[in-house]
């Protein structure tokens, strides 16, 4: 037992002069751990930054669209066409997200559009902090539209709010029609689902009805547009949907 502070003998006499007991002697002073209640959301920090982005967009009257899909479903091709077709109506700029390379940003830049690339390295999704950083470089003008092309991945980006106004999930007819059931978290969060590469329907074994039925089971309220980013078929509906979202600011 420590004769100074009495530790090790809880029942014993303890004599202490406050402030003078410095414990120069080595012995463990084991005490029970203290429980601290936190009760906070794990993603509170991301959600807070996302709200900041959302306010930032709102103050500048910018429509922000988060584009998500698996790799190869045609996000960048659709963006190239969208940017070209909307360029005469209102300013459009793009944030590209990929693990590595600036290939996609170069494709978008070739359309004459303002673009920045975010490389996530080991990361599998964009988060609100990355978008905030990208927006500082992008510096999009007021009364414009910002497309955020997320990392090609149908799992992780679903969980991270970026502060966008709407989420568009792209899926192509070369993928399985049952994908909405396989990746329900992603399809559940979509405001609009774009079924791309419809020009290939005659050549692939893809049932649009089966796809719509699967989608209806995870997100019965989402808008759905069938289009081809290659031929342009159906893109007018997509632009119409975007125009509605910008609150008629875009001249039809």
């Amino acid at each position: 037992m420590c004769t100074t502070c009495g530790c090790g003998d809880e029942a014993g006499v303890r004599v202490t002069v406050p402030g003078e007991h410095s414990h120069p002697h080595p012995h463990p002073h084991e005490q029970p751990d203290r429980t601290v209640l936190l009760e906070q959301r794990v993603l509170a920090r991301n959600d807070e930054l996302a709200e900041r982005n959302r306010s930032w967009f709102a103050e500048r009257d910018i429509l922000a669209v988060n584009l998500m899909s698996s790799p190869g479903s045609g996000k960048t091709t659709l963006l190239e066409r969208t940017v070209r077709d909307l360029a005469g109506e209102l300013p459009v700029s793009v944030v590209e997200g990929d693990q590595e390379t600036v290939f996609d940003a170069e494709r978008i830049r070739a359309t004459g559009c303002r673009v920045v690339q975010v490389n996530t390295g080991a990361g599998c999704h964009l988060d609100a902090d990355m978008l905030a950083l990208a927006l500082r470089s992008l510096d999009p003008p007021e009364r414009s539209m910002v497309f955020v092309e997320n990392v090609g991945n149908l799992v992780c980006p679903a969980l991270f709010d970026l502060g966008e106004d709407c989420r568009a999930v792209i899926m192509s007819v070369t993928e399985g029609a049952d994908k909405p059931l396989k990746y329900p978290h992603m399809f559940r969060t979509a405001d609009i689902v774009l079924l791309n590469k419809t020009d290939l329907l005659p050549y692939v074994d893809f049932s649009v009805d089966a796809f719509l039925s699967c989608l209806g089971k995870v997100n019965p309220h989402t808008a759905v547009i069938q289009l081809s980013a290659t031929t342009g078929a159906g893109t007018a509906d997509w632009y119409g949907w975007l125009r509605d979202r910008t609150g008629q600011r875009v001249p039809g």
Binding site: T16, D33, R34, L38, R41, R45, G123, L159, P220
Partner: protein, 126 residues
């Protein structure tokens, strides 16, 4: 592999709240409908905790199930699957009431050895 980000967020949030205090246990809740795999978070936790005051802490995960209410027929029911269908009318139009939460509930912190505040005097007997 968003579980790595989830684990990182847990460690960041705990360190932000508790500073340098030595944490021995972190209790989190990962709802079964959250889309986050508890085992993967567990796997990543030790990696991201390394070199922080949370290093060596035990991660305790509870996984509460979900509840949903059908917007068509009004029925309330347990939800175990991310594809939520009403067991009564098969509708997919379901309001998920719980099961998607990712929360840090509490932590256990090592108590520092503080000098006792009370001076006790009692004559020694014997």
């Amino acid at each position: 592999m968003h579980e790595l980000s989830i684990a990182q967020s847990i460690v960041d949030a705990v360190v932000e709240r508790l500073g340098e205090a030595e944490v021995t246990c972190v209790r989190v809740e990962i709802g079964r409908l959250s889309g986050v795999v508890a085992d993967s978070v567990l796997f990543c936790f030790d990696l991201v905790a390394e070199g922080t005051p949370v290093q060596g802490a035990r991660l305790e995960i509870s996984e509460p199930g979900g509840r949903g209410r059908c917007r068509d027929c009004g029925r309330e029911f347990d939800v175990a699957d991310p594809i939520v269908l009403c067991p009564g009318c098969d509708s997919a139009d379901v309001d998920v009431l719980s099961g998607r939460d990712l929360r840090i509930k509490s932590v256990e912190v090592k108590t520092a050895c503080a000098p006792p505040a009370v001076v006790a005097t009692r004559p020694e007997s014997g």
